[in-house]
Symmetry: C2
Amino acid sequence: MSESNRQLRLKTRPEGDVRREDFDLVAQPLPELGDGEVLIRVLYLSMDPTQRVWMRDIPQYLPPVAIGEVMRALGIGRVVASRSAHYAEGDLVQGLLGWQDYAQLHEKQLAASGYVKLGAQAQQLPLPTLLGACGMSGMTAYYGLTDIAPVQPGETLVVSAAAGSVGSIAGQIGKIRGARVVGIAGGADKCRYLVEELGFDAAVDYKAGDWKQALKAATPDGVHVNFENVGGEIMRAVLSRMVIGGRVALCGVIAGYNSDERPADDFSVAIYKRLTIRGFLILDYKQAKEAVQALGGWLREGRLKAEETVVDGLENAPLALNRLFDGSHRGKLVLRVDPAS
Amino acid sequence: MSESNRQLRLKTRPEGDVRREDFDLVAQPLPELGDGEVLIRVLYLSMDPTQRVWMRDIPQYLPPVAIGEVMRALGIGRVVASRSAHYAEGDLVQGLLGWQDYAQLHEKQLAASGYVKLGAQAQQLPLPTLLGACGMSGMTAYYGLTDIAPVQPGETLVVSAAAGSVGSIAGQIGKIRGARVVGIAGGADKCRYLVEELGFDAAVDYKAGDWKQALKAATPDGVHVNFENVGGEIMRAVLSRMVIGGRVALCGVIAGYNSDERPADDFSVAIYKRLTIRGFLILDYKQAKEAVQALGGWLREGRLKAEETVVDGLENAPLALNRLFDGSHRGKLVLRVDPAS
């Protein structure tokens, strides 16, 4: 076990793309554990668009990461030392571990919401999948289409950022629920992947010139449910195809996360189509058992395909985050912090 | 009875403010009534922001008014001649009568949705009130706050365009339902009117420099329900004050009706506050009896105050419509077509 802990601490708030220099890489010896404290070796970190928002000093659902603070990130780690009766060496823990090699946490922090000890059943799945299809990403897709904007058999579901971690699961859940599923993604490769590997009914390449026409052609009966991850121009195009009374599960508007420019959205279509648009956050679903059981079952049965893009090295976290916005990954983007994991 | 019928027919689609020249004023003799036809003298016309949208060739909930067509408008008229067994001279009819002195309609058209014969109880109210507080405007306010985004006692309701036909009723319904009601309106006079005459708890003058600060001060517990008529910058300011899980009854976004410029709205707040935003149109409420009975009762009891701004003369319809957007009216704006009414 390494005696030093590397941490990436926010130094300056990025403008546009995240730069390596926006973070200080600090190495320091691991301190002694106090009573009730647990030392966790970080194995994998989840790379999520919401992290880009956490770097910004704007109103949001959690406090922004402070300058000088270790960058907040969800991850999976293994307990390597414990002075808590509730945690033993070898336990796997999922929660906010941060951009660092080791997280030193008190059992009281670990008892708070946002941390779970992974049981035997969870450990049958690969760790990246526990952060992706069977983690926050999958659960977000699950509740978006079962609670926020339930999709019914025969309805048309359009998913944006459809080759991403949430979108790829949302589309597959739509198929499991009997909907016609159309994905929007960037590039012919991703679109082929959606249709040929994930079983989407159609895919629209928003990087192709005629994509709005293609969206129209792919949704001859209009759009009943929109699982929205992108916002901006893509969301407007989908809204224009919605049926009267359509529902939008508003999961993300990443078109605006990376910039201070506001996307020019327009609510008038929400009126004349009598849309219900519901923003939601997965952190409201404290009891995620139902989702995890459903997702895990579908994964085991092969009805759900999990895909991850793995980047190595804690020091690569800042630049890796940009890949969430430039479209150069597929499925869940995770960072492998411990090369042995 | 005049032997000629003046009609205002759409000539060119307005850009920005409506101009007199955008309409042809055509006078022609009244044709003979065919079998089943009814001739209706137009008494009052309702002036509504949605009419500005009807003039535009964009997707919307009804077909745009065609070039050469009589401008569509809701109104109240009296039957002056009838070759239908269902209508007698003297009957009062409410429905889409159009910008004209006389509407000649077949009983089959009158039987379609959008037309009602006014009964004895309705006739106890002034005709402008039947187009305003006890008409579409009042019903829109009623269903917005009872069905789309029901407001509960003790909650804070913010209404934009609060001195307008819908907003002034929405705010009063909020008070009847026990909410704290804050109105947003333009100018000190309107704000005084909201608080002193209509009983709003507070009013925010968006023409004053510090209005966002004033909105914050007026909503110390945040905003639970937003009855939204305006959109754009005003809606963004209200959304920023909403509580988690807040509800928006999206009735109108008039900030964008008069121009082809899109307001720069932003859905990200809808996510981090988990908002439900529901667009709605009063025309979905086919059975409006409940609303009309409630509104009529409150009016008779003096719990609801109806205010109308009356403009005279059919020929003034185009320029009068602009008053809906420049803030120079209060309450319901109606056009008196028949000087004797």
